[in-house]
């Protein structure tokens, strides 16, 4: 379970998050929507403990990640996974080595076992045959799938996806959505997915939350968000140019 309570974060004098409250129940998937550059990625990084908040609490299974140090923080991080916006693949390593990296560094698996696990994971994301390529040699969609495989190979309990389908063609986007859905069913992780795929995402997630002006202005079931009468949400979800959100 992920719970964010009254979270503040600013960079220099630019206040990005101003009191975020968010709750994701065990085993559920939440879609986080909101304008570009409004702090969605920052929120994910805070949740997984990559940066510290100025104020507020981030509870993961009732433990406040912003207060944990040393071994406890490490253990908590090991149970979480994140798929970064750009994939964040290690570009000095091949696709195979990228996926094998966490297994080699974090587990005591034998080489043959690692080989099997990685190949199985790559097959699952539809990338068997690409294992000896370097990240620079593969397409954006393949990179995202490798990143997904590298994250899921550790069987995390909590997974954060940062725009897993942005910049991909609709078919690959759909394939990745299905992949995430299938993995979610088999691994049963709790997930937050930052996405712009509205309304496609509504049929795939349990809840939707919208970040606006540094706050979560609404959080509900996909149906509630889609039919919301709130002018801001209505404008964003239906992609209208006229409305309270000004587009610079």
């Amino acid at each position: 379970m992920i719970e964010v309570v009254d979270l503040y974060k600013s960079f220099k004098n630019h206040e990005v998050l101003r009191g975020v409250n968010l709750k994701v129940e065990e085993g559920q998937t939440l879609a986080l929507i909101g304008g570009s550059g409004k702090g969605k990625s920052v929120l994910l990084k805070l949740i997984i403990g990559l940066t510290k908040p100025d104020r507020g609490k981030i509870l993961i299974n009732k433990q406040d990640i912003s207060k944990l140090r040393g071994k406890l923080l490490k253990q908590l991080k090991e149970r979480c996974g994140i798929v970064f916006q750009g994939g964040a693949l290690f570009d000095s390593l091949t696709v195979f080595d990228n996926v094998a990296f966490p297994l080699r560094e974090k587990t005591r698996m034998k080489d043959s076992q690692i080989q099997d696990t990685v190949l199985a994971e790559l097959t699952r994301v539809g990338l068997s045959g690409a294992e000896n390529k370097y990240p620079a040699e593969i397409s954006g969609g393949m990179k995202k799938r490798v990143a997904l495989a590298r994250c899921l190979v550790m069987k995390p309990e909590i997974v954060l996806f940062d725009e897993p389908t942005t910049g991909l063609d609709p078919l690959i986007g759909k394939a990745i959505h299905k992949l995430i859905r299938d993995c979610q069913k088999s691994l049963n992780f709790t997930a937050i997915m930052v996405t712009h795929e509205i309304p496609a995402i509504f049929s795939l997630v349990d809840r939707v939350a919208m970040l606006y002006n540094g706050k979560i202005i609404a959080s509900g079931t996909p149906a509630e968000i889609e039919t919301s009468q709130d002018p801001v949400i209505h404008q964003f979800v239906h992609g209208e140019l006229e409305g309270p959100i000004s587009i610079q």
Partner: protein
Amino acid sequence: MNWILTPFKIIGNFVHTFIRELGRMACFLATSFFWVVFPPYLLRRIVKQINFIGVKTTLVIVLTGSFTGMVLALQTYYALVKFGAETSLGPVVALSLIRELGPVISALMVTGRAGSALTAEIGIMRISEQIDALDAMALNPYKYLIIPNLLAGIISLPLLNAIFVVVGVWGGYAVGVGLTGVSSGTYFGGIRDFVSEKDILEGLYKSLSFGMLITWISCYKGYFTGYGAEGVSKATTQAVVLSSVTILIWDYFMTSILLT
């Protein structure tokens, strides 16, 4: 009133930034050395970085070393001939190389070839979130990226320095004995008589500290790079300039301390 205060503001800002930067760099180094003691030790990565910083710079070092030795012999010979002291060509060339030129020039070469590449690599890892990815896997980025480079620098520089000096002495020999009139026995005999262990140690201390300085500055600049391609390019330039300047300044202090 404002125009009176402006210069003070600028100076104050500069001093403030400078001190803060120094403090951050010190913390960076201290953190790195703190984590050195704890496992995992990642020997493979250290060897890989020794290959990158050391082995791959060898050719440059051999080239610059031999030509430095050659030109040094040529210049020194014409100066010494005026005093009729050309028999001391060997020790003069060897001592300049061992105490000064070897450590400094090899360090500058490593800065240009490996330091810049380190900053760029780590900087790109930062802006493409690869460092965050390491962190998110609960792996310590210092362990994987910084410490192997620091150790590789400290190990490689003295060895590169040694190669530089040896090649330089032979370069000096080629010019001194081959082109000018110094005999082979005089050249090496002089070196044996006048070069002491203390001189060699001075060169060793210098190159050890340069090895740390270069990798420290390069890793720091890459690790805290600014945004985008522009941030990385700025960081790389800064790393090279700062390393080179620091090498020369530090060299002066080391010399003045070690000579007393």
